[in-house]
């Protein structure tokens, strides 16, 4: 009795259950170790870039990071009141710009905002050159004439600590200034104070009560400041360019001040985020919906052409004697091994109006010399060249599925009285459908992301959305928009895949066997 109740033990005395579990765990760990290089590889080269792309399509930290004070000040500005923002915004913007110029990040912000409002790139570039030469230098001259101590960076350092509460602007600007000087490789205790510090001090002093400081240096400065001609930063910016006085410029900055923005996604579907909410783009600017539609439509046409052309070839390959089939197989694979560019360029030679096909047609008098066919630089060109390029991706899965259909099925059908056609259509074809499914998914997904071939032979109406993505990645540098377009394309493919799974069933897809 006791022997049955007590757990079964292994030779070393541990319970069998625990021992088995441990063995299993070790097995699993070993299996995991074996797949881990691949897993790591996929994570690093596939999942991480996709996650990065998803993030880039909404990321917009540049505005906040470059001009934080302005963003803060703009929150209190009510654009509905009309007119440009108050002096506090210009004051904050002046400070931000001085530091941004020193960090050389203002032009980058300009290019970012130029995507939303044309003209801002040059406005920021131009202002960057002038912002260091503002009349705020008058403040600096006045204070340093008053007391030499202002020229000593240590004075500022001490004040920022002791009077931080009564001089909030000065303390804040001084903190950033120290950081910027350090990043430049300078020493904040040796660096001569910049105009922007004096401007902050002036603003602080003007708001402080007369004689309200314990420090005589500050009280003297306070008295002197009261007698100074104030420098209007609004006018200083207005003198660089009148656009700074345009409320629309500030509304754009305000609209895109957030750390995250839906702007790129809206742009990808021909909408735009304005200060008044989401709006349609102008008729002449709408392009992406059209391109998405065209990409899907042409990929579909290419997939269907591949089925129509590939099916008979695969059928022939699967049913010919091995020796002949192998030679045919090489003919299928040869273009597969040839460079994509070479094949595309060959299509140019063949298809153009003075090209081989047109020359033959004219020589055979099928086509008149004056009305040669236009086969390239349009949708026809893209469809012809891409069908050819993607054909092996249809033929190979079809072939491997057809190879596994036993010839006895068709023979059985025929022996039961079916005609050739009925035997093919009712018996052979249904068996080959998984191959069509696999080939179609392959061809369609490859086609949707193609860009070299459409670029070379597609002219204007035969280009895909991927050509625009490539343009934004390598030419316009609008990576946010490229990421948003890429994300939409990715999800479009996933949705199609899911629909396919629901309708046909992904289990029905066979790449062979």
């Amino acid at each position: 009795m006791t022997a049955i109740d007590s757990p079964v033990l292994t030779a070393d005395g541990t319970p069998l259950k625990a021992s088995l579990r441990r063995a299993l765990r070790r097995e699993k760990a070993r299996a995991f170790l074996l797949v881990s290089p691949l897993l790591l590889f996929v994570l690093l080269t596939f999942i991480a870039p996709i996650a990065d792309m998803l993030f880039r399509s909404v990321e917009n930290g540049i505005v906040h990071d470059t001009i934080p004070r302005t963003v803060q000040a703009l929150r209190n500005w009510d654009p509905e009141q009309g007119g440009s923002p108050g002096d506090d915004v210009f004051e904050a913007f002046y400070t931000d710009m001085v530091f941004a110029v020193e960090r050389k990040s203002h032009t980058r912000l300009g290019s970012r905002l130029n995507y939303e409002r044309t003209g801002l790139a040059s406005l920021f570039r131009k202002s960057g050159r002038r912002v260091g030469k503002f009349d705020t230098t008058d403040y600096a001259d006045a204070f340093t004439t008053l007391d030499q101590a202002w020229e000593d960076p240590r004075t500022w350092d001490a004040l920022a600590v002791s009077e931080g509460a009564s001089l909030p602007r000065t303390a804040s600007v001084h903190a950033t200034w120290r950081e910027v000087v350090r990043t430049d490789g300078g020493d904040p205790l040796e660096e001569e104070p910049w105009d922007v510090l004096y401007a902050a001090l002036y603003a602080d002093l003007m708001q402080a009560p007369a004689g309200g400081f314990d420090n005589p240096l500050l009280n003297d400065a306070r008295t002197a400041a009261a007698g100074l001609e104030p420098v209007s930063l609004r006018e200083q910016f207005g003198a660089i360019d009148e656009d700074w006085l345009d409320p629309q410029v500030w509304r754009t900055i305000r609209t895109y001040a957030g750390r995250y923005t839906p702007g790129y996604f809206l742009n990808s579907v021909d909408l735009k985020l304005t200060a008044d909410g989401v709006q349609y783009r102008d008729e002449g600017d709408r392009i992406y919906i059209l391109l998405f539609g065209r990409t899907l439509y042409m990929s579909l046409v290419i997939t269907i052409s591949c089925i129509l052309l590939g099916y008979p070839v695969a059928f022939l390959l699967a049913n010919l004697p091995l020796r002949t089939a192998n030679i045919l197989m090489i003919l299928v694979l040869l273009p597969f091994w040839t460079s994509l560019l070479v094949r595309t360029s060959s299509w140019k030679v063949l298809l153009q109006q003075q090209g081989v096909i047109n020359d033959i047609l004219v020589a055979l008098r099928i086509v008149d010399d004056a009305s040669r066919l236009i086969l390239i630089n349009n949708q026809t060109g893209t469809i012809i060249a891409m069908t050819h390029i993607l054909l092996p991706f249809m033929i190979l899965p079809l072939y491997s599925v057809m190879k596994t259909i036993p010839p006895s099925y068709v023979r059985a059908a025929k022996s039961l009285g079916a005609t050739d056609w009925t035997a093919f259509w009712r018996v052979y074809f249904p068996n080959s459908v998984p191959g069509i499914g696999a080939g179609s998914v392959l061809v369609f997904i490859l086609a949707i992301g193609y860009y070299i071939t459409p670029e070379l032979v597609g002219g204007t109406r035969g280009v895909f959305i991927s050509n625009r993505i490539a343009y934004h990645i390598s030419s316009s540098l609008n990576w946010g928009l490229a990421a948003a377009l890429g994300t939409i394309l990715l999800f479009a493919v996933l949705i199609l895949y899911w629909t396919y799974d629901r309708i046909v069933g992904i289990d029905n897809v066979k790449l062979g066997g």
């Binding site: 050389k104 032009t107 003209g119 230098t137 001569e192 910049w194 709408r286 059209l290 003075q354 030419s475």
Partner: protein, 369 residues
């Protein structure tokens, strides 16, 4: 106000550069980025070969990535691993790279050699220094070539021949981007050259340019690679087409095709070097040493022996000689030759830096319709 800072910086620079120059801590490898093809070859023969003859320890590697230099540099910069030392880009890309903080701002007079007559580099290059990061190298132009056997007895002399489908029937090729095409369209629609950008800034002006382009839209093959138009001309696919003048030179003089040059309203553009930011000290020193040599008066003049692009230095122009292989005088083939430059158009970089994104979207939408 910032005098002290400047003095300190200059002192620091002198300290940094001083020992480098003396103990010659220069990297032995230099990676140059260019456009490939005949252009890169001309740079190799005119700059790199003589430089290596003087500095046999140096190995120069070419990377043909200038087409996507801006994107690649940005990616390298984000990854914190810049592998290029000197990058050849067009002026508009240099402005972009400078705006993005990816190219180094330089002091032209300090970095570059003075002209033989002693005038400073910035005087010698003059207006061609369009950005603080840009070291000009050549002046090239985008202009038209036409099939001499397809234009009858009246070869075109005016850029508006492109829009004249009655006199010159057949296809034409234009670049698949708004730059240059919009300007030509407005000029041929009667806008004076000086007002082109003012007109193009307005919605009506843009509509006007598109309306003019609409008249030939069905006859245009749009190109995206510089080699397209020469091939289309050689095949007789187009009767007239725009491309870079050096490409046309090689079609006409080297390949002997029945093609003629139409210099009217050629658009000047610049190509030159930029130094990426974030180079280690030894590589930076090598890049600076090389670029000083490669952009001196004689080297720029030498490049014109191999390709028909005009040297960016004024002092190089009188030194331009004959083609190294063909033995023909190169001066008459330069876009800057007075005979060719009777009617030229200046490409406004600043303006396009602002309007490029906006107009490109409109242009693509117009093409797609």
């Amino acid at each position: 106000m910032k005098l002290k800072k400047t003095v300190l910086a200059a002192a620091a620079l002198a300290l940094a550069v001083g020992p480098t120059a003396v103990s010659a801590q220069l990297a032995d490898d230099i990676t140059l980025v260019s456009w490939g093809g005949a252009y890169q070859k001309s740079q190799h023969r005119a700059y790199v070969e003589p430089y290596i003859a003087d500095n046999p320890e140096v190995t120069a590697v070419w990377d043909e990535s200038s087409y996507e230099a801006v994107a690649k540099l940005r990616a390298m910069n984000e990854a914190g691993n810049v592998t290029w030392d000197l990058v050849d880009v067009v002026a508009s890309d240099a402005i972009r790279l400078c705006d993005e903080g990816l190219a180094m701002e330089i002091d032209h007079d300090e970095l570059l050699a003075p002209a033989p007559d002693g005038s400073s580099a910035s005087e010698d290059f003059g207006d061609l220094i369009v950005s603080d990061c840009f070291i000009p190298q050549i002046v090239y132009s985008t202009t038209f070539g036409y099939r001499t056997d397809m234009v009858g007895s009246t070869p075109p002399t005016d850029v508006c021949a492109v829009f004249d489908t009655a006199t010159y029937p057949g296809k034409r090729s234009l670049e698949k981007r708004p730059i240059n095409n919009m300007e030509w369209a407005l000029i041929c629609d009667g806008v004076p050259k000086a007002d082109v950008y003012d007109v193009l800034e307005t919605d009506e002006g843009q509509a006007r340019a598109f309306a003019k382009l609409d008249t030939i839209k069905d006859d245009v093959i749009w190109w995206s690679a510089g080699a397209d138009t020469p091939q289309l001309l050689a095949d007789g696919e187009v009767v007239i087409g725009s491309t870079y003048n050096g490409r046309l030179f090689s079609v006409i003089e080297e390949q002997d095709q029945p093609v003629g040059m139409l210099w009217d309203a050629q658009v000047f553009d610049l190509d030159g070097w930029i130094i990426p930011v974030g180079l280690p000290a030894d590589r930076l020193a090598r890049a600076k040493d090389f670029v000083r040599f490669a952009t001196d008066t004689q080297r720029l003049a030498d490049q014109a022996k191999y390709i028909s692009y005009g040297p960016a230095r004024m002092s190089s122009a009188p030194l331009v000689g004959q083609h190294a292989d063909l033995g023909i005088d190169m001066a008459p083939h330069m876009p800057t030759d007075p005979e060719n430059a009777k009617n030229t158009f200046l490409y406004n970089y600043e303006w396009w830096a602002d309007y490029r994104d906006d107009l490109d979207a409109k242009f693509q939408a117009w093409l797609a319709q």
